[in-house]
Each structure stands twice: as structure tokens, then as C-alpha cells.
Amino acid sequence: MTKKILIMAYATLFMGTGCSQKAPDLDIEEGRNNISDATEVASDTVSIDENEYGSENRDALNGTQYNSSSDGFQSLYFGFGDYTVSSSMEDTIEKNANIVHSVQQRVKIEGNCDEFGTDEYNYALGLKRANAVKESLVSRGIPENKMVVISYGESNPVCTSPTDSCYEKNRRVDLRLVK
């Protein structure tokens, strides 16, 4: 009710304001300001294909460097808006820690979100999830410098159906070996 009253009050406020310009009488001397040939719209812009750049981005383009869960890791799933590691994740964390212990390579921990946040907030949420998993692995004796975290926000969905079970699959942390 309060909200309705507020909205009505704002609408009333709008009605009291607004544009009041009248067409002014121009003081333009005859012939002055009358014509100027101009190319005033900016010239054409570039169009870049990132494949033209170096290997730093090519890795991401061809999608082969950071393969999916074939390295034996298991993804961890989070509640809506949540970034805490729950007790139900302990077994999965333990299994992942054993793999990290057994390999020489560094591990990339990727935080992901469903599509419901907005730009920066979602990327920060994904990073909080990735860091939560990283800290759990550190507590199991994994050196910090053996892991690197990154957030992909909502950019890397594994499922795109508009269903709850689909959104749950996207609120996850993936682990991969850095090859």
C-alpha cells in the first residue's frame, strides 16, 4: 500500500515537471550557418578476429587446453546465491584433493553461476565459489601455488533449459588440470 502511495506521489511529481521549451525566435543572420559540407559521422571502425592474436587467446578459442572433467575431477554444486562449501561436498572435495596430490600439474578451479545474477556480481559470486573450493583443498594440504582460480560467471552453462534442475547444474565449480 505504501509503495502504491509512493508511486502515485512520484507520478504527481512528474506531472508538475517536464519540458517547457518553446520554439525560440532565431537570431540567425541571412546566409550565416546556412550550409556546410561536412563529414561529421566518424569513419569506419575495426573488426577484430581474436584468432589473429597470439597463443594467449588461441587456447581459449579452440577449447582444447582446458578440457572438461576427463581428468577425473568432480564438479561441486551450490545453492542459489550461495558460496559456502557444505558438509555434503566433503566426499567430493576429498576425492578431488587426492587427484591433486597425485599429479604434478597445476589445477584450474573454475567458478560458475546460473543466469540470474547481473554481470559483475555473477562473476564475483563464481569467484567466491572457486575460492571456497580452493580453501577446502588447502585445508587438505594442497599448496596454494598448485591451484589457480577463475570465475566464468554465467558464461559457461552446461545446461540451457529453463528448469530448476538445469540451473542447479550451472551453479558449480569445475576443476581441470592446467596442461
Binding site: 521549451q21 520554439a23 559521422v41 571502425t45 573488426s47 581459449a60 562473476y123 564475483a124 582460480v149 566464468y152
Partner: protein, 422 residues
């Protein structure tokens, strides 16, 4: 036919625009007859050898969103060079005669006539080579007419909108558009390149984050030469959220030690000063109050909300006392626009509305009242707010003129907008 493809696409846009204008008629377009009376009545007379209805519609949109004109909706045809005006046009204050021709170049000639006296008050011609950029000709012409008539500046209609959109998982492209999205050009495709942000008011350079490697990298790119410069890199995430007016410092969200916080980055010294220190989420720093403070989005109360912090002291204060999930913000001077979630569904379409407030929390007013409205952004000059509206599976970009309350919606393609700047 002149620009047939362009025209066909625009007619689809127009149809959608008409439908969405009706669908979302409740939005901030508070149709006030008093305002209508005070706007300048103007008619368009098309003197092109091949009349172009798409171009006519863009001129109409420009005149409407300016907030200063009440444009006659009839697409009149007439002689470009004659001073004769049809008697039916004498009830207009001004008549804009224009002619669009395409030979080796696209050329637009305009003549602004004062109806009562059938005299020319302004004449100008414009030339471009790329026909895709025809919408910018319309914007420039209307902007110039507005200036000649000494109305408040609307040069924002000439500016590029830059946005990132997802294409496939872990892939995106960065696109330039005019404000109506009639013109769109992908300027970076391939890879995962996000968060484009204009680097200068001239819109020659922009910053963006490349997520291709182990660490996100912030680049600055020239849109005319393609030259790019690496600015910095950070583990976890990296976003350029705002650029100081003099272009010398940036507000970045980054996580050099794993924890995402807001930093002010000095481009000359390459040093980053940490502005926020919080174990939760702090993102989207925006300069406010003559760039002495920032506002930002944080979950320090357990939900996303807008907070304010001086750049010279440690205290943080709540900037918005309304809503339970406010996760996007932009600023202009001491004005704030923010998106607020107003339904509590965990999934599916939630209702988001855009609110206008002041940084001292003194006033707040809604700008939208229906649908899912996100990504609020002030125009250059702060008189208009851009936002993205989602309705079902369709999205559109909306504009609200804060002074005249005029609003417009233009359709977007089906690809999800990741972030946008103007």
C-alpha cells in the same frame, strides 16, 4: 531500391517497437498532455528521389527521445529545394525537409524551415561512405537541429553503445551499435571478451577483459586502428567498472590475492590502490560526488545492495535503503540509478525495476514499473537512462528521458547481453 536490406530489418524493429510500446505502456512514459503542448511541433518532408521509410522512422525516434519535439507522424513527400510548404503544414512550427541520396557516397541534405514564414533557418549536408551507418546521419541531423534551436544538448544520440553478448558457452563478442541498435557491428569476435567500457569521452578507445588465459587480462583498444594495449591482469576476475573523467584512473574489480575487491588503478604509475576490503562480494565501483567517493554493490548485509565509500577514508555507508536485492548501479554527478529485484523467485523471470536516487539517499523514484529491467546506465550528460528490458524470451533496450519522461524501446537479438556501456 535504396538500402532495401537496411529498411527491411528496420521495419521488423519498428513492428516490435510498436508492439512493445503498447505492452510496456505503463513504463515511465508518463504521457502528460501539458508536456505535449510545450514541445515544438515539427513535420518531416522527404525530398529523396527514392523515399526511405526506415530513415524517416529513425528521424522520428530521434525527435521523440530528444524530449523537445512533437513530430508529425505523416511521412510527407515534397520538393527539397522549394520554399513552398503545403497549407496543411502551416500548423507546425517547423518543417524539416531532407533528402537522402546514394551515389558513390551516402549524402543527407537537410533544410529546416520556419512554417509560418516559409523561410529557411538552417541548411546542412552530411556525407558518409558506409551505408550501414545511415542511422548516424539521422542522429547527427536531429542533434544539429536541436542545437540550432538552442535546446538542451542531446548529442548523446550520436554516441556508440558498446556491449558484450554471449554467443556459445565461454564465447562472446563485443559489438558497437547506435542507440537504436539499427546499426550493429561486431568489433571483437572469438574468445571470451567481456565488460567493455569506454575509455574516453570521444569514444576512440575502450577497455575490455579477455578471459582466454589462466588470468583475465584488461586491455585498452582503439576502435579505429585495432591497436590494443595490455593494462593489467588479475587472477580470478577483472573488470573495469568506471573511468575517471580525466581518463587517468580506473575503478577495477579484481582479485590479485584471490579476494575480489574494488581497486583504483592509476594508469601512469600502473599501481592499484585497494578501496574496499570485505570478505564477501564488492563489485561495480562507480565514481560519485565529484569523484571523491564511490558507490558499489556489496553483499555485506547478506544480500546485494548499494553502498558508498569515500576514496579518502575508510567508512562505508549504505546508499540505498530500498529493496532486498539491488545488484546493478550507475552514477552521474550525485545521481544514482540502480536495478532492484522486486520478486523473490529463486528461478525464472523475476521482476526487476530501475530506480533513480541521489547519493545522499534524500530521494528515490521508480523509472520502470513492469517487467524485468536491468543494466541501468546514464547517458553522457546524464539526462537519459538506458536499460535492458526482458519480456518472455525477448529483450529490448529501453531509454527514459529523465526530463521529458519520454521513453523508447528497441528490440535486441536473442543473444544474452553480458554487459553494456554508452
Amino acid at each position: 531500391m535504396l538500402h532495401k536490406r537496411f529498411e527491411g530489418n528496420f521495419l521488423k524493429y519498428l513492428l516490435f517497437l510498436l508492439i512493445t510500446c503498447n505492452l510496456f505502456a505503463v513504463d515511465a512514459t508518463v504521457k502528460i498532455e501539458k508536456d505535449v503542448e510545450n514541445r515544438t511541433r515539427i513535420a518531416l518532408v522527404d525530398g529523396s528521389s527514392v523515399p526511405n521509410s526506415a530513415f524517416f522512422k529513425i528521424l522520428q525516434s530521434d525527435l521523440k527521445i530528444s524530449g523537445h519535439f512533437l513530430a508529425d507522424k505523416t511521412h510527407h513527400k515534397g520538393d527539397m529545394n522549394s520554399n513552398y510548404l503545403l497549407p496543411s503544414l502551416k500548423n507546425q512550427e517547423y518543417v524539416l525537409k531532407y533528402s537522402l541520396t546514394q551515389e558513390r557516397q551516402i549524402k543527407l541534405l537537410i533544410r529546416l524551415m520556419k512554417s509560418s514564414e516559409s523561410t529557411e533557418v538552417f541548411k546542412k549536408s552530411y556525407t558518409i561512405t558506409a551505408k550501414e551507418k545511415i542511422p548516424f546521419l539521422a542522429h547527427k541531423a536531429v542533434s544539429d537541429i536541436n542545437t540550432v534551436l538552442k535546446y538542451p544538448d542531446i548529442s548523446w544520440i550520436n554516441r556508440y553503445v558498446i556491449y558484450a553478448r554471449y554467443t556459445t558457452p565461454k564465447k562472446s563478442e563485443i559489438v558497437l551499435a547506435d542507440y537504436t541498435f539499427s546499426y550493429q557491428k561486431s568489433i571483437i569476435r572469438g574468445g571470451l571478451n567481456l565488460f567493455p567500457k569506454w575509455a574516453d569521452k570521444e569514444q576512440k578507445h575502450f577497455y575490455y577483459s579477455a578471459y582466454g588465459g589462466l588470468k583475465p587480462v584488461l586491455y585498452k583498444m582503439n576502435i579505429y586502428t585495432g591497436k590494443r594495449t595490455k593494462i593489467t591482469a588479475s587472477e580470478g576476475m577483472l573488470v573495469c567498472s568506471d573511468v575517471r573523467k580525466d581518463g587517468k584512473k580506473l575503478l577495477l574489480t579484481m582479485a590479485p590475492e584471490g579476494q575480489a575487491d574494488i581497486y583504483e588503478f592509476d594508469l601512469s604509475s600502473k599501481r592499484a590502490k585497494r578501496v574496499t576490503k570485505f570478505k564477501g562480494i564488492d563489485v561495480k565501483g562507480k565514481y560519485v560526488d565529484d569523484e571523491s567517493s564511490i558507490v558499489f554493490v556489496s553483499d555485506r548485509l547478506g544480500y546485494a545492495n548499494i553502498f558508498k565509500k569515500s576514496l579518502f577514508s575508510g567508512s562505508v555507508s549504505q546508499a540505498v535503503y530500498h529493496g532486498r536485492n539491488n545488484n546493478a548501479v550507475d552514477t552521474d554527478g550525485n545521481k544514482i540509478v540502480y536495478a532492484s529485484r522486486e520478486s523473490q523467485k529463486s528461478f525464472g523471470n523475476n521482476r526487476f525495476n530501475i530506480y533513480l536516487a541521489t547519493s545522499d539517499t534524500a530521494t528515490t523514484r521508480p523509472l520502470t514499473t513492469t517487467g524485468t529491467n536491468q543494466f541501468p546506465l546514464f547517458s553522457f550528460g546524464g539526462t537519459v537512462v538506458l536499460y535492458i528490458k526482458h519480456h518472455g524470451r525477448k529483450s529490448s533496450v529501453g531509454y527514459i528521458n529523465l526530463e521529458s519522461q519520454q521513453s523508447l524501446l528497441f528490440p535486441l537479438s536473442g543473444r544474452k547481453v553480458q554487459s553494456i556501456d554508452w
